[in-house]
Amino acid sequence: MESQLAEIAQHTGGVIGNAWLMIAFPLVGAFILLVFNRFTNRWGHLLGVAMSLASFVVAVLAFVELLGFGPEERRRAVHLYEFIPGMVDMGLLIDPLSISFALLITGVGSLIHIYSIGYMSHDEHRRRFFSYLNLFVAAMLLLVLADNYVGLFIGWEGVGLASYLLIGFWQFKPSAATAAKKAFVVNRVGDFGLLVGMFVIWTTFGTLTFKGLGEQIAPGTQNGTMLAIGLLLLLGACGKSAQLPLQSWLLDAMEGPTPVSALIHAATMVTAGVYLVVRSGAFFFPEGSGAALAVAIVGAVTLLAGAIIGCAKDDIKKGLAGSTMSQIGYMMLGAGLGPAGYAFAIGHLITHGFFKADMFLGAGSVMHGMNDEVDMRKYGALRKVMPITFVTFFIGYLAIIGFPLLSGYFTKDGIIETAVHHQPILGWLAVLGAGITGFYMSRMIFMTFFGEKRWADDAHPHESPLVMTVPLMILSLGSIFLGGYLILSNRLLDWLTPAVGAPAERPEFHFTSVPGLATLALVAVGAIIAWMKYGRVPVPAVQPRGSFLTTFARRDLYGDALNESLFMRPGQWLTRLAVFFDNRGIDGVVNGLAAGIGGSSGRLRRIQTGFARTYALSILIGAALLTGALLFVGNI
């Protein structure tokens, strides 16, 4: 069961030694674009793309350099500077896991940058958009490259910020502003877990670096503290990766421009939770531990929930968002299975990055042509006017439903198979989820590209420019081939082993395993049902009243309602109470005290009647009291 990690070696020089450039390029880009704001309007987007690409180049070079090391030497730590003296230094960890992420982020990120040139060409704040994108890339890279939890956390929040800014990019729409805020706040709930997790880690181990932890934690250690840390980190992961119970923000996050949804809310940022679990896996989520089981359960539940939500959405992006939730649920499920699942989880993460980005961008392309219409009931028959978009989207569709030999097929089936092997119940749930995936993705395809036109009167759909479609093509290529490349012959597994540890038994991909076949069958059933409901019969342009289940799904499984009644309402009530208490209670006491003194002054001054005889009386009484007191004191 032991999963021995490779030693982390200090590294200087070379591309890896200068891996900070990966972060620096986009950061500088963001800085320039923000500071020299109006002056960069004309060429700002180009700078953004260039910086992202530069980062990608560095990542590739670092990857190449890393390949030059033997497997056991592929964990390279780069010391940057002393961050909090006595606690943690800023440093990067370049290992197969992080470099994989870096490649995904910079690669897909660059594509989306390029795509955005076209997508945002009409937006007067395109330059700002690119600066945010660059900021996101930098933060995300810091997240995955940091060699300690603090650096990870900075990146973690940095992407949260970028996500906030980008969701709210069209902040003048109240819905966008609200969604941005919601995303940030919900994420903060998760951050709370991550923070407290770090407290426990520091208190227990006196270190926050992965290296330090690796040195201190015997593989497979399980105890209460470790379980607590694991659960806390899981809470953080749930927030970032929109897993139950912190899933609610992701659907609203679709208010952002579509490239954002593609990059942040599909391909990269939302997978940070998976990264966190995998990265910490060897320490806090050892195979068979309670924490790992919790991860798997969360993943399984979310994959179903996301899928169900996806079934009911008419908004193409929300449908995709539900799907994203669901797919990340798969990854979490995989990540909860220990090293055996890591490779599939990461693999699925990467392929999902491609095909989901592909689909999001495709959806964006559709919207671009449809005057930003998102309601699929207003689409239909677009395959003819948008052929490239259709083809690329369709490839993504096939990949996600696990059409054999496409990327998703390998990675998802890998997860399902491993899950069935390790946690049968969860595994079969995942199978069920795959079936639902088949349904809702097919529904999306049918509603969007097939059937009759249900376009709005002023809609003149057209194919998007090359700057948008080329990235689509590249992504769809990845969606086709990447999965097979990574999974077959365990390429990814072997590559990741130094970073995440080796599974107890080496998995073998079976094209004809029982769960695999069952999955395929269910997917087919789902697709057929979708065709029956949306392909064969015309889609009503107005959303029909649905059954209880449909409403349940449409309302995001009442997640928002739950949040509202459990947290928001009581929170507002508590806030009002606290404000009232502060104004009337505490301040009331203070003011009351002042008023009391003033009032007693007002009453006491009446003693000063103005009659000399009263004054004389007070003197006599005073004299008597004084005398009495002195005699008394003298005689005690």
Partner: protein, 266 residues
Amino acid sequence: MGETITFWVLAVVSVGAALGMVFNRKAVYSALMLGAVMLCLAVLYAVQDAPFLAAVQIIVYTGAIMMLFLFVLMLVGVDSSDSFVETIKGQRFWAFLAALGFVVLIVAALGNVVFAPQVGLTAVTEQGGGYIRSIATELFTRYVFAFEITSALLITAALGAMVLAHRERLTEKPTQKDLSRARFRGDHPSPLPGPGTYARNNAVDMPARLPDGSAAESSVNRYIARYDVEHGRLPQDPELAEAIRHTAEENVPQTEAEQSSNEVTK
């Protein structure tokens, strides 16, 4: 034994007189009662080997100070008598209580003092060469400075009385000649017309009519006119009413009462 009898007699008399002073409504009686107390005390001084003080008590206190009191009482109004209705709430109750408490405290405390046998003054006077001589020696040696300083007190008193009571004349007193000259130089060498009391009304506040039938404003006293205006006692006749009002509005030197009320409001 003689002292005891004297004491008891005089004690009763003096306490009675003191109470009489306090509870007599007429100030003059109070003053006389005080005089009685002082005389009793003078005798008690004499009994207690203080003949000098007894004399001074009678001469200075009863003779001079009491006279001053009586003099001022005459000035202020000899027949004035206090109302014994207490106007300050609780004052009398608390006054009795406080005085009683005070007496009880003092008497109880003094009653507790165990005095040594009286030393008496014989020894001291013997030593000083006689009573008066002893007093004089003491006064002009040990207490000479205090004695000198009392002069300041007396000067202050004199000066104070001057300041408060003496009206220095700042201008020549107008002689009768001045007055009549002023009168003939004024508008009205003759007396002002009388009010129309018997012409048409039977009140002094009604202006007389001049030959042309108009109301003679100068025939009504300004103070009376003002009273009418302020109390709404103007006559029905608008012409007369106007005349009275006009008279009242003339610049009248403010009376003291008004002055004082103004003072308060300032």
